[in-house]
């Protein structure tokens, strides 16, 4: 089995342990079944919670009769929206969450929660759900992003007037907001172009597809204090949102993040947790709620489906003169930031004199959309990168050379506003151009594509504690969750700073009672921001240890420096002072001033933007339209790879999700507005036999705003695959796909249409 993973070093900073590949500290727990996930804990007297969901895409809830369910033996609480009064003022993001976790006057999508029960066991809970009578009046619905924009479309949320439009609209519509970015004069730019390509694209809705369904164990006492054990990317955010919706004091709700069985953005959002807490409060018993896979698909947020028009103009020598994007993103029945993110990311890879992107946020009767790995970027990139290939082809340049010529550089004004510092788009393109994959021979019906992707990355509020034990081992407590091995990265960072061994660090994920607020683990921020806070916490602990040494030596602290895990007295006149190790200082700590600790509370600003370029080979079966990825290479800038093995893992996992999105995955709705494929059998994510090895190349162009140069690595590589595969299909069988996923029926239809048009041309 080949492994041509190689790392390229762009940084001169020298590290002792950062960049090595030790085994993760939670490895044994996770290979022996000992690790506890969302559904793996139990409380004395615990009840089973279950949720009744709307079978209709859009319906008025005339009445809910829960009397029979309440009388069933073993039922301890029944909950409807009446038990969750509006404490947030009837509007805004928290109100949307409240409405989404339990429908009020209307069910807004197939799967929308309408009532819930807590009972002594699963069988009783299911039986009780069947006894709840909901009187619905079915309303007209709309699930397609383009249909929803039409003037006569059923209105999903009465009162919606498009934001950021002048003059302000006077009529309701499903267009929640308009957002625009760009600079220059695109009309003037297109006049200078020799070639202009304009094309419309569509992408279908996909789900993050984490293998662990949402699960929690909630317990609220009559004194208004509670506990929530939950699988989440953001236990602090969950605490704030749940407390706010239920009227609890924030400090009195302790939220513990379980081990998390995948999130990819889908566990940044509160779904049924307020319902579990509400049931527990009503029953005065702990309540466990675990979503079924069907509920995960129907009622937890997938990403947006989109349609878009992309237009790019260039001169014959390959300079882009103007580019525009008109993007339509649906957010389910609630306004979101999905179009906005699409408009910001679409042209972020390129240095454009004239660029304009306009995004429209559209409401439909589908589940509330949540973040999915680099949210909104892959769809826009599919349109933009596919069009880039068409322009390159029209002017006779190679796709890589065309992109290199127009790539953004340090000092480029990004299409979404800021001016870039040192960035990695050009190095990733150079690495692609020189990669042996680019020149490997292809067989019949095989084709190669390449594409680029961008993601902002995020920092945010972070709090971290580092405590040194008397034996010199270290407890590091962080508030971002470990989604994919970050305990290992944090331990490496602490070991690097303190100068002790990786095995002497124990990294814990703190619950909400043990640290200050930490923003949700999203935007690839875990290693960037908790890593930064760990560095500063360790440096604070080092300052304490320097003071202890200075105290012992009776010299000024300025004359003590920390090196290789020891306090050293600086200067020739101190040459008689033998360095004091961390262990010695820690051991003496009870008599020298007490516990030694460092902590850091920060807003980690300036996460470094990240770029990736991918190469993909596919083989298309022209008869069935079935497409297989036969070779795949990811090149991405990590800034600095703390634990390269897990960085590679992020690249590979993101590419695999992109491959699934490109070829197979989509939400399929019937005429009745119901989701037809709410299960892993019919919503097919890539399995082991679908994929080849995914080669990776880590570039390290340091982020100047992080002490180690870290950017963020989790998301960027889901951005290029849709377009890379689209171009590979085009190069394999000559049809340019404009609709994702490129499932066998769509490719077959495209091949048939192409054959028909060729026939018509030859007949004409």
């Amino acid at each position: 089995m080949s492994d041509n993973n190689q790392n390229t070093n762009f940084t001169n900073q020298e590290f002792k342990v950062v960049g090595s590949r030790p085994e993760r500290p939670d490895g044994i727990d996770k290979v022996t079944g000992r690790a506890l996930y969302g559904a793996d804990t139990y409380a004395p007297g615990q009840l089973v919670g279950a949720i009744l969901r709307s079978p209709h895409a859009h319906a008025k809830i005339k009445s809910i009769d829960t009397s029979k369910a309440e009388k069933l033996k073993g039922v301890k609480a029944v909950l409807t929206s009446k038990d969750l009064p509006d404490l947030v003022g009837g509007a805004g993001p928290n109100y949307d969450i409240l409405v989404n976790c339990m429908a009020r006057d209307r069910a807004l999508y197939d799967g929308h929660a309408v009532a819930a029960v807590a009972a002594i066991d699963e069988n009783t809970a299911r039986k009780a759900l069947k006894l709840i009578k909901v009187d619905y009046k079915i309303l007209p619905h709309v699930t397609d992003v383009d249909e929803a924009r039409k003037p006569n479309a059923p209105i999903v949320q009465p009162g919606t007037r498009t934001a950021n439009v002048e003059p302000a609209p006077t009529k309701d519509s499903n267009i929640a907001a308009r957002n625009q970015f760009g600079h220059g004069d695109v009309d003037e730019g297109f006049k200078q172009a020799d070639v202009i390509i304009e094309k419309t694209y569509k992408t279908e809705q996909t789900h993050q597809g984490y293998i662990e369904p949402h699960a929690c164990l909630a317990s609220v006492g009559p004194d208004g204090s509670g506990e929530l054990w939950v699988t989440t990317q953001g236990h602090y955010t969950f605490r704030t949102v749940c407390s706010t919706l239920l009227g609890l004091d924030i400090a009195k709700l302790k939220v513990t993040s379980s081990e998390i069985g995948g999130g990819f953005g889908g566990k940044t959002h509160v779904w049924m947790e307020p319902v579990a807490l509400g049931l527990s409060r009503k029953a005065n018993r702990p309540v466990k709620v675990v979503m079924s896979r069907e509920e995960v698909f129907r009622a937890s947020g997938p990403t947006a489906s989109t349609s878009m028009d992309i237009k790019i103009g260039a001169t014959r020598d390959g300079r882009i003169t103007a580019a525009t994007a008109d993007l339509r993103y649906q957010g389910g029945p609630f306004p979101g930031m999905w179009g906005l993110l699409g408009a910001m990311t679409s042209f972020a890879c390129y240095n454009l004199p004239n660029v304009k992107t306009v995004a429209w946020d559209i409401l439909v009767n589908r589940p509330k959309v949540a973040a999915y790995r680099a949210p909104s970027a892959p769809m826009a990139a599919f349109g933009v990168e596919s069009t880039m290939d068409l322009v390159a082809d029209a002017i006779g340049m190679s796709p890589v050379d065309f992109r290199m010529l127009n790539a953004a550089r340090e000092g480029t004004r990004a299409s979404y506003g800021p001016t870039y510092g040192p960035i990695g788009i050009l190095p990733t393109l150079e690495a692609v151009k020189n990669h042996p994959h680019m020149t490997a021979p292809l067989g019949p019906n095989q084709g190669r594509g390449m594409a680029c992707g961008f993601w902002f990355n995020f920092g945010g509020q972070t709090a971290t504690d580092l405590n040194i034990s008397t034996d010199g081992t270290v407890n590091l407590t962080i508030g971002t969750v470990d989604v994919g091995g970050s305990r290992a990265s944090m331990s490496l960072i602490a070991a690097e700073e303190l100068g002790i061994s990786y095995d002497e660090i124990k990294c814990n994920i703190g619950d909400t009672n043990s640290l200050g607020h930490n923003d949700t683990t999203e935007g690839s921020r875990g290693t960037f921001s908790s890593g930064m806070a760990t560095i500063f916490a360790a440096r604070q602990a080092i300052d304490v240890m320097r003071e202890r040494a200075a105290q012992k030596w009776e010299i000024p602290v300025e004359e003590v420096e920390w090196k290789d895990g020891e306090a050293h007295a600086v200067g020739v006149h101190h040459s008689n002072l033998i360095p004091l190790s961390l262990k010695e200082i820690a051991k003496a700590s009870p008599r020298t001033g007490g516990p030694i600790a460092g902590h850091n509370e920060t807003v980690a600003d300036n996460a470094g933007v990240s770029f990736a370029s991918h190469i993909c080979d596919v083989e298309v079966d022209p008869e069935t339209g079935s497409t297989r990825v036969i070779r795949y290479t990811v090149v991405q800038d990590a800034g600095k790879a703390i634990h390269p093995q897990y960085v590679e893992g992020q690249f590979q996992g993101a590419a695999a999700q992109g491959i699934g999105w490109a070829l197979n995955e989509e939400y399929i709705y019937g005429e009745d507005g119901r989701l037809q494929n709410a299960g892993f059998l019919d919503y097919r994510i890539p399995v082991c036999s679908d994929l080849p090895f995914i080669d990776t190349k880590i570039l390290e162009i340091p982020n100047p705003d992080h002490p180690y140069g870290v950017r963020g690595v989790g998301e960027t590589s889901i951005v290029p695959p849709l377009a890379a595969i689209g171009s590979a299909v085009s190069n394999a069988v000559g049809v340019r796909m404009d609709h994702v996923p490129m499932s066998p029926p769509r490719i077959r239809a495209a091949l048939k249409a192409q054959a028909a048009s060729e026939k018509a041309v030859s007949a004409g």
């Binding site: 993760r24 290979v31 293998i211 081990e259 069985g261 893992g649 996992g653 995914i694």
Partner: protein, 177 residues
């Protein structure tokens, strides 16, 4: 619903439980026996997170009833390590970073062990198809396939070593005679 009394073996230990006749083995393992290593990812046999073996046959425990394992032998991820000694697959999964979130890992380990128990020298394709019933959303399977391949190497080495030892012992015994 009156319960069914079941006597069975789980990870080598004699076990008794009472469960409703419609209760899946997965729920019995998790909720009655405290073995939460097997996970429910779908409940419909599509994801493999609940993989266990029943009399050495690989099954999705969400599709087997608890009442069906009367008199049988069930093995779960909790029974894979020999005390403090991890199974080669467990060690190689950690070494190769073949897990990210880890929720699918117990199922993959059980399924991979079922493969290596019958074929200790599988090709890449054989590994990929043997594991096609287990979904992983984090890794793209790359490092999982490498870990299984590497574990198979270790297992073959251990077997060869054991065989040489037995042969040597036999030869010694024969020489003594």
């Amino acid at each position: 619903m009156s319960g069914v009394h079941v006597t069975t073996t789980v990870n080598g230990d004699a076990v008794e439980f009472v469960c409703p006749p419609n209760e899946p083995l997965l729920d019995v393992l998790r909720n009655r026996l405290g073995l939460t290593g097997a996970k429910e990812g779908c409940g419909t046999g599509d994801c493999g997170a609940c993989s266990v073996t029943v009399d050495d046959r690989l099954v999705c425990s969400c599709l087997v009833l608890g009442a069906e394992v009367e008199g049988r032998s069930v093995s779960t991820v909790e029974g894979m390590a020999d005390g403090a000694d991890l199974h080669p697959l467990q060690s190689k999964f950690i070494e190769h970073a073949a897990l990210q979130c880890g929720i699918c890992t117990p199922g993959f380990l059980v399924a991979a062990k079922a493969l290596l128990d019958r074929n200790d020298d599988p090709s890449e394709t054989e590994i990929r198809y043997a594991l096609a019933g287990n979904l992983c959303r984090c890794t793209g399977y790359d490092k999982i396939v490498r870990a299984v391949d590497d574990a198979a190497k270790d297992i073959r080495k251990a077997k060869a070593k054991a065989a040489t030892k037995t042969a040597k012992a036999k030869a010694k015994k024969a020489a003594a005679k």
